[in-house]
């Protein structure tokens, strides 16, 4: 309930600030605030997260890192299958749950992703996407502390994703804190190459990441087949 309230406040703040700022991307009425948060996240990444992820990558062999990454990915499959069903993709729901069963047992607690090798593809679903598939738009773009790019809708989705997170269910604060930490480092380590590409590519990193993120989420909501947007002014200058 309280979280819902926070969201309402955020939404309201978004509308108000929206009136105050001019120009820019219409899906980013909170740009000044977001930019500040983006800068903060970047600083934390430079100072702590990226160096730790680099050390992690240097210290552990590829097979071990993949195993760790698979372990966390496997736990996600349960919630993914629930979201499949909520989006009306019942068969995919069964398949994703099948992935979880197969990998948890024969894949030794998910360390080996044998389901993928057996032809059960890993899917990417979360509650934000489910809301999207129900026709709810993203709303204002938001940069969350540490977690990074999101939207009002996806932040709300994230609340539910976190509540249903299986790592969250594991007893013992120390155990699940260290699991969280490991998952974070593992995720960041997998993205080291990607972030170096963004550094090279972006003129304005903030705008680049925002646009890429919004396109990515749209693509995920439509499961890889979004309706074509008009390429305005692309063809009228021929």
């Amino acid at each position: 309930m309280q979280k819902a309230k926070t969201l309402c406040v955020l939404l309201l703040a978004g509308t108000l600030l929206g009136c105050a700022t001019s120009g820019g991307n219409p899906s980013d009425p909170l740009e000044p605030l977001n930019r500040a948060m983006f800068g903060f996240n970047d600083t934390v990444d430079d100072a702590v997260v990226r160096p730790v992820a680099k050390a992690y990558r240097a210290a552990l062999p590829g097979i071990v890192r993949t195993g760790i990454s698979n372990f966390f990915s496997n736990l996600e499959d349960v919630w993914i299958s629930v979201n499949d069903v909520l989006q009306g993709k019942v068969q995919q729901g069964f398949e994703d749950f099948g992935r979880f069963l197969l990998n948890s047992t024969f894949g030794i607690a998910g360390i080996f992703d044998i389901a993928s090798e057996a032809g059960l593809k890993k899917n990417n679903e979360d509650f934000g996407q489910t809301l999207g598939s129900w026709g709810i738009g993203g709303g204002a773009y938001l940069v969350l502390p540490i977690l990074g790019p999101s939207t009002v809708r996806d932040s709300f989705g994230l609340l539910l994703d976190t509540q249903t997170d299986l790592v969250f269910r594991i007893d013992g604060v120390r155990v699940h804190n260290s699991l969280y930490l490991t998952r974070g480092i593992s995720t960041r380590a997998n993205l080291l190459d990607a972030s170096s590409v963004i550094e090279t590519a972006a003129l304005d990193k903030y705008a680049f990441v925002r646009e890429a993120w919004l396109q990515r989420r749209r693509n995920l909501v439509y499961d890889g087949n979004p309706p074509r947007e008009k390429e305005e002014a692309d063809d009228d200058s021929r």
Binding site: G23, G24, N25, N41, D45, G62, R65, T66, S69, N70, S73, D113, S116, K121, K122, N123, N124, L144, I146, L147, G148, P149, S150, L158, T187, R188, A189, N190, L191, D193, A194, S195, S196, V197, I198, T200, A201, A202, L203, D204, A207, F208, V209, R210, E211, A212, W213, Q215, R216, R218, N219, L220, G224, P226, E231, E232, A233, D234, S237
Partner: protein, 210 residues
């Protein structure tokens, strides 16, 4: 979550290219990719991140199969018409340098990822097609999609956009370009691109690889 998206960008650009002009678009993409991957696997200098060698490889194998003018036009959207023909040429030149540099960063991260191609869905008379592929990432069970938007020209099929995990490398620049043009004009944008490209060269000279 923050960097989920970058994963898709990164796995990005295994987009190489060859000479064959009458090749079907999907065959063309596959051939070029194979050629570039073959060089990547053999060439010790490229593996060590020699920027000159990478640039040479891209210039000969990849660049000829892209339509950079159209890419720039899409990224510029409405503002394309504000630019004079000379400015358009300059813009396309700088944007090309930036994209090629981005591509070479991605390529230097290549480590034996497996690439699958999906069957091409197109009619013989189509002049615009999408070639879809998937790259299997190490350390992640989920493959990343890489789609090539291609157009038919008298000189064979040309790529005019690459979408990584649904993120277009070209339209991702739209906001940046638009606000730059709004604040500093077309010349301002050209200058920013040129500065970014120079800065990239500087970094390169210092350390071949990150």
């Amino acid at each position: 979550m923050t960097m989920n998206l970058s994963r898709f960008l990164a796995a990005a650009l295994f987009i190489p290219i060859a000479q064959a002009q009458e090749l079907a678009p999907d065959v063309l993409v596959r051939t070029i990719t194979q050629e570039v991957v073959a060089v990547l696997k053999q060439d010790k200098d490229i593996q060590a991140g020699d920027p000159k060698k990478v640039a040479e490889l891209l210039e000969t194998k990849v660049v000829p199969h892209f339509n950079f003018t159209r890419m720039t036009r899409i990224a510029m959207a409405r503002n394309w018409r504000l630019a004079s023909p000379e400015q358009q040429k300059e813009l396309a030149g700088e944007f090309k340098t930036l994209l090629v540099r981005t591509y070479s960063t991605a390529i230097s991260n290549y480590r034996d990822q497996k690439i699958d191609y999906r069957p091409l869905r197109a009619k013989p008379e189509d002049t615009e097609v999408t070639v879809k592929s998937e790259v299997k990432q190490s350390g992640s069970s989920q493959p990343v999609s890489i789609d090539y938007e291609m157009e038919k020209t008298p000189n064979g099929w040309k790529v005019y956009d690459v979408k990584v995990g649904g993120v277009s490398l070209v339209t991702t620049y739209r906001d940046t370009f638009a606000s730059e043009v709004k604040d500093r004009g077309v010349d301002g944008l050209i200058k920013s691109l040129a500065a970014k490209n120079r800065q990239g060269q500087g970094e390169r000279a210092k350390s071949g690889k990150s």
